[in-house]
Amino acid sequence: MKIKNREILHKKILIVDHSLIVRKMIGFALQGSDYEIIEAADGVDAVRIIYSQPIDLLVTAMDMANINGLELSRIVRETSGLEDLPIIMLTQDENRVLKNEARGVGISLLISKPFSHAQIFNLVKEVLG
């Protein structure tokens, strides 16, 4: 697992999920914690953001149209300077093959839906140190 010991203040977190509700929910869980939240509705939008600004943590859904979470993670890992970017993957898929793939790509944490707001907050805190 790649857990960085960085400052919590002003860390940028990119949340990628097709569902606006899930993005809002995660934003709600992290509100008031001094993280800067950036949202993307799909993998294409996420790639554009990742290439345009520094990100400290990627929280992505696995199941998305166009570029799914696994493909997005592969792109991140293959991008120079982002090899160690922590990635939390959200999934409701019980498919072991996909989970194995996620591990292979270098996902830090995989969390199955549904999860609590406290849980996502703690995970982010754990990953960002």
């Binding site: 697992m1 999920d17 569902s19 606006l20 509700i21 899930v22 809002k24 929910m25 709600f28 869980a29 696995m62 199941d63 999934t91 409701q92 898929d93 019980e94 498919n95 072991r96 093959v97 989970k99 194995n100 996620a102 591990r103 270098g106 996902i107 830090s108 944490l109 995989l110 969390i111 199955s112 839906k113 549904p114 999860f115 609590s116 707001h117 406290a118 849980q119 703690n122 995970l123 754990e126």
Partner: protein
């Protein structure tokens, strides 16, 4: 287009499709088979209808859940404000300001108690001293009365001497002079004695009045003040007990309000069930699209036999998706019901929180009113008693000063009387000598000389008693005079300080309590309003019913297609083994979807899951060790 209009349109379309389907089936009878035949447009219509409904469903649920999420965010913000208020109230109740205020009040009451005690002590001393002075003055009455007797007898002796010795011609002048001297001495002593008697009477009245004042103060106002201070102490003890209870209650309020905030956050978390349902519905939509593509492909190829097989396959697929959709609807409905129940429970909790706040606020206000009434009454009594004590002490000081100065004058008069006694002895000696000179009647002069001698002794004895009594009175009065005046000055300052301190303290306490009551009122109002809004929000959630209606229409549309082809389905190859059904299973991301699939079309290991070198349990255990939860896998 509104939901209602859309639903009506969908229903109308359904009726039209059913009518058309019925016509087609009727037309097909006797043509190719008993199975209905649809042209490409019909297929498009039938398959696109549930697809459109699912799109509409997605839009509806997302809109409702987003709106609901916004309400929850608002509730969370308001609950956080209530929680902060509860913490602030708890801080005020257990804070230094409050406990310090109570300590200051305890000290104030103890100061008042000490004042009253001191006043009673001093007043008691004054009362006893004035009583002693009055008693000593009363004791002067006896020698003063005896002096009255002495002067009366001196007058008689003077007259008798002149009468008895009127025949002694050779000693006429001397005896006349003796007689005049005796009478003059009697008058002088009587004059002094009258003055002393008058002064004693004045002192007695003054001392008696001061004694009565002290006695009244001691047994009246100061005793009542003592009782009032005791009452204030008791009320303060009650206030301390109430304060302890308020601490516990405010702690409980803080915990409850924090729990409310936590509950709202949990409900916010639960809206993600929408996403789970969304994905299930997306899988259904994708399956229907796959059916459409397969039909289009078949129409392009024009193979009728293949089409029959495909129709059966699609019938199976529609039946399957109908089940999946039903399950999604049930899960969505269950999730929404859980949210509604949680909100109602939350509303009740917030209502209780408001009620508890109101109760604690009422207790605090009542306790405060009782306390202020008692403490203000105590302060008023103490100030009255201290002020009256000042006046009484001043009167006593005046009386005592008068005793001191008048006693000194009286002592001087007594000293004169003592000199008169010595003079009487000389007169007695003269009378004795004259009794020897006169031959006839000398015995009479001898008796007179003896009488004067007796009176002189008596006068000296009584003047000594007077002198001793007056010296003792003066001495004790002088001692009290110094003490009393000092105490009067000291009490004057104490009264001023007490009034000033108590005013300041009560003002501070009133301000603190006013702030506390204001916070209580705000918290009560905010919690009450929040409870009402949560209740209204919970009662107005209809998304499960709206979504349920659309899902039911989608299910009906899917079942309609399935029924048309499934009714006459012929035994063929195993349904789950077809490529279309296999493709559907591969889209699933949830265990529940796969379970339904296997139940409907028969279980098969279509998707071989490859084991990973490390088991899932190991990843989950690792996450658990980090306290990340059972649904987390840490890689």
């Amino acid at each position: 287009m509104s939901l209602l209009v859309r639903n009506e349109a969908v229903s109308q379309r359904q009726t039209e499709i059913e009518a058309k389907g019925s016509d087609s089936r009727n037309r097909s009878c006797g043509e190719l088979s008993l199975r209905p035949r649809w042209d490409r447009d019909e297929w498009y219509e039938y398959l696109s209808q549930p697809g459109r409904q699912l799109v509409e469903l997605h839009a509806l649920t997302e809109d409702r859940f987003l709106s609901f999420g916004a309400s929850l965010t608002d509730f969370h913000k308001r609950a956080t404000a209530v929680s902060n208020l509860a913490s602030s109230i708890q801080g005020k109740i257990i804070g230094d300001e409050s406990s310090g205020g109570i300590q200051k009040l305890q000290m104030l009451i103890e100061r008042m108690s000490i004042f009253i005690h001191d006043i009673r002590t001093i007043s008691g001393q004054n009362e006893r001293a004035l009583f002693s002075i009055c008693a000593a003055l009363e004791q002067l009455q006896s020698p003063l009365q005896l002096f009255g007797e002495i002067t009366r007898r001196l007058q008689i002796i003077g007259i008798t001497t002149r009468i008895e010795c009127s025949g002694f011609s050779d000693s006429q002048n001397n005896i006349t002079h003796l007689s005049d001297s005796i009478r003059r001495l009697g008058r002088l002593i009587a004059g002094d004695m009258n003055e002393i008697i008058d002064q004693v009477a004045i002192l007695y009245d003054l001392s008696k009045a001061a004694h009565c004042n002290e006695s009244a103060l001691n047994n009246g106002e100061s005793a009542r003040a003592m009782a009032v201070v005791a009452e204030a102490r008791s009320v303060l003890e009650q206030l301390v007990t109430n304060s302890c209870r308020a601490r516990q209650q405010s702690e409980s309020l803080t915990k409850s309000s924090a729990a409310v905030t936590q509950s709202i956050a949990e409900i916010v978390s639960s809206i993600q069930f929408h996403d789970i349902t969304r994905q299930q519905i997306e899988h259904v939509t994708e399956s229907i699209e796959a059916f459409g593509q397969a039909i289009s492909k078949n129409f392009r190829s024009g193979e009728l036999a293949d089409r029959e097989s495909l129709e059966r396959e699609i019938a199976d697929g529609c039946r399957l998706q109908s089940e999946q959709l039903g399950n999604s609807g049930n899960e969505l409905s269950a999730a929404v019901w859980r949210i509604i129940e949680s909100l109602h429970s939350l509303s009740a909790n917030v209502k209780n929180l408001a009620s508890d706040t109101r109760e604690l606020s009422g207790d605090t206000a009542r306790g405060e009113n009782n306390f202020f009434a008692a403490i203000e009454s105590a302060i008023e009594s103490v100030v009255t008693v201290l002020t009256d004590n000042l006046a009484t002490a001043a009167d006593s000081a005046l009386a005592i000063n008068a005793v001191v100065s008048t006693s000194a004058k009286m002592v001087h008069l007594v000293e004169e009387v003592e000199a008169f006694g010595a003079e009487m002895k000389v007169l007695a000696l003269n009378a004795s000598i004259e009794s020897v000179h006169v031959k006839a009647g000398g015995s009479a002069l001898g008796v007179i000389a003896d009488s004067i001698q007796d009176l002189a002794r008596e006068a000296l004895l009584q003047s000594d008693r007077l002198s001793t009594g007056l010296i003792a009175i003066t001495k004790s009065a002088k001692t009290l005079s110094g003490t009393n005046l000092g105490e009067v000055t000291s009490h004057d300052l104490k009264v001023a300080t007490l009034i000033s301190d108590s005013d300041l303290m009560l003002t501070e306490l009133r301000q603190t309590n006013a702030q506390l009551l204001e916070s209580f009122a705000r918290m009560d109002q905010q919690a009450d309003s929040l409870a009402s809004d949560i209740f209204v929000s919970a009662s107005s959630i209809k998304v499960h019913q709206e979504a349920g209606a659309i899902i039911d229409q989608g299910i009906a549309a899917l079942n309609f297609i399935a029924d048309r082809f499934d009714a006459s389905a012929r035994p063929g190859k195993r349904r789950g083994d077809t490529s279309l059904i296999k493709g559907i299973r591969q889209r699933y991301s949830m265990r529940s979807e796969r379970d339904i699939h296997d139940r409907i079309v028969g279980g098969s290991k279509l998707l071989q899951e490859q084991p990973h070198p490390r088991s899932e349990k190991i990843y989950r255990d690792e996450a658990k060790e980090h306290g990340l939860g059972a649904n987390v896998e840490l890689f």
